[in-house]
């Protein structure tokens, strides 16, 4: 009984926050109506990270860097089909050709993707997913979401992840769920290891780690969707630096 009460309250909070839809933070362009629930999930993710993922990633970080680079390369190569399909769905034929060349080169002479020879041959790596494809098609982010274990996302990106996983990615389907799970675990550990300095930094120095992660995620996604073009010149970014004109006179420093 008690659980159902708290469950109802949770839904009540969700509904009321959805309806109230508070204004997004000044710099973030994405609304976060589920913030109370998102923050709870963020706390749980942090717990999992401190107890499990962080320590595993730290141990993994002790491996020599060429070994880790090899693992990264294999994971990237397994990911290439998803990028290829999304390149095509975005109408980026040149990038699709690049991804196909990478997949071919690295899967053959790169020995199952262990060596990223394609980059040496002038086929640089990039990454696409169905969330980015939806963005290119004009679908907006929707609400910000903090997913259990998977971390920061948006309604659009979460939907994209489902499509990538269930419909586009051949690895999970062809090779069975064990391979899919192993790959997911590998991705998690590798990504966490590479992000470790950032994670430590945010924990130590951020005034509000949840807000930091949300803002950084949204900014990163924006760059990925723009295929790497920098923030300079983007309307929302530039507005911050123009705005200062208005109150510079009032500044008493």
């Amino acid at each position: 009984m008690r659980t159902s009460v708290s469950h109802n309250r949770l839904i009540g909070v969700a509904l009321s926050t959805l309806l109230a839809a508070p204004l997004p933070a000044a710099a973030a362009e994405v609304a976060d109506p589920l913030e109370p629930i998102n923050r709870t999930i963020f706390g749980l993710n942090e717990l999992v990270d401190v107890m499990l993922l962080g320590p595993v990633a730290q141990a993994y970080g002790e491996l020599p860097s060429p070994v880790r680079t090899g693992v990264r390369n294999v994971l990237d190569n397994l990911r290439a089909p998803v990028t290829f399909v999304n390149d095509l769905l975005q109408g980026e034929t040149d990038r699709a050709g690049n991804t196909f060349a990478r997949l071919f080169i690295n899967s053959t002479i790169g020995i199952f993707g262990l060596f990223d020879l394609a980059s040496e041959f002038g086929y640089p790596k990039h990454r696409e997913d169905f969330g980015q494809t939806l963005a290119v098609w004009g679908v907006r982010d929707g609400a910000f979401l903090m997913l259990p274990l998977l971390g920061p996302s948006t309604v659009r990106d979460a939907a994209g992840w489902v499509v990538d996983t269930a419909a586009i990615d051949p690895i999970g389907q062809l090779a069975g769920s064990e391979v899919g799970l192993a790959r997911a675990a590998g991705e998690a550990v590798d990504t966490r290891q590479r992000l470790d300095p950032v994670v430590q930094d945010v924990r130590r120095n951020s005034l509000d780690p949840y807000a930091t992660v949300r803002s950084a995620y949204l900014q990163r996604r924006a760059v990925e969707i723009r295929n790497g073009r920098p923030a300079a010149g983007e309307r929302n970014y530039e507005a911050i630096f123009r705005e200062e004109n208005d109150n510079a006179g009032a500044a008493g420093d």
Binding site: A25, K125, L207, S215, Q219, E224, I240, A251
Partner: protein, 213 residues
């Protein structure tokens, strides 16, 4: 030895080469060509000089931790206008803040930056950088693109926003892999101010500055 595995691409040129080329160019009285048609831009030179000064401090083995931090703090104060950056971070709340709140915010903002720098000092491990390009955004601001190389890891793209304050160049934002420091900190500040007001933000900043228990 990790060479065949490396993923970097694009114009790769260690800093030494850039410096050598610049020195040659200076001697010959011409601008360096392909490397850095962009380097003669004052903002790019400003960032390059800043980078050299920071690396010189980081690599000076005669300095102990405290001395090193002091040097870095004075470089920071010289190269940025923290009053301006603090204003950008507080955004519209700057207008709502009282004179005393503004003053305290700028002070705490600077102390937190120095604390962050101190924390990062321990993770410094032989990073080097190269200045890649500079592009004017408007009549005041220029973005300088650099690449930071780290031993055994993929390089990071870092853009530096430099503002011309009537002839004096100051660094006003750092954008690492597309994530802007100003945008991120604005978001944090707005979140806390929205919840507990400007005084709540100041209290949280003071709390962060207390030595860890």
């Amino acid at each position: 030895m990790p060479a065949p595995l490396a993923i970097d691409r694009g114009p790769r040129r260690p800093r030494r080469d850039v410096l050598a080329l610049l020195a040659l160019a200076a001697l010959a009285g011409v601008h360096p060509g392909a490397v850095a048609a962009t380097l003669p831009v004052p903002a790019a030179r400003f960032i390059d000089t800043l980078g050299q000064r920071v690396l010189a401090v980081l690599n000076d083995n005669r300095l102990d931790r405290t001395a090193r931090l002091e040097r870095l703090a004075s470089i920071l104060d010289e190269a940025t206008d923290l009053g301006l950056v603090a204003r950008l971070v507080l955004g519209r709340y700057w207008r709502e803040a009282s004179e005393a709140q503004r003053r305290e915010f700028v002070t705490l903002f600077r102390r937190l930056l120095l604390k962050t720098m101190a924390d990062r000092l321990d993770t410094y491990g032989g990073e080097t950088y190269e200045v890649l390009a500079a592009q004017a955004v408007d009549d005041r601001d220029t973005m300088v693109a650099t690449r930071i190389r780290r031993p055994g890891a993929e390089p990071i793209a870092v853009d530096w926003r430099v503002r011309d304050l009537g002839g004096r160049l100051v660094l006003i934002d750092i954008v690492a892999e597309g994530v802007s420091m100003v945008v991120t900190q604005r978001s944090e500040a707005a979140e806390i101010v929205g919840r507990s007001g400007i005084d709540g933000l100041l209290a949280e900043m003071r709390r962060r500055l207390e030595p860890a228990a």
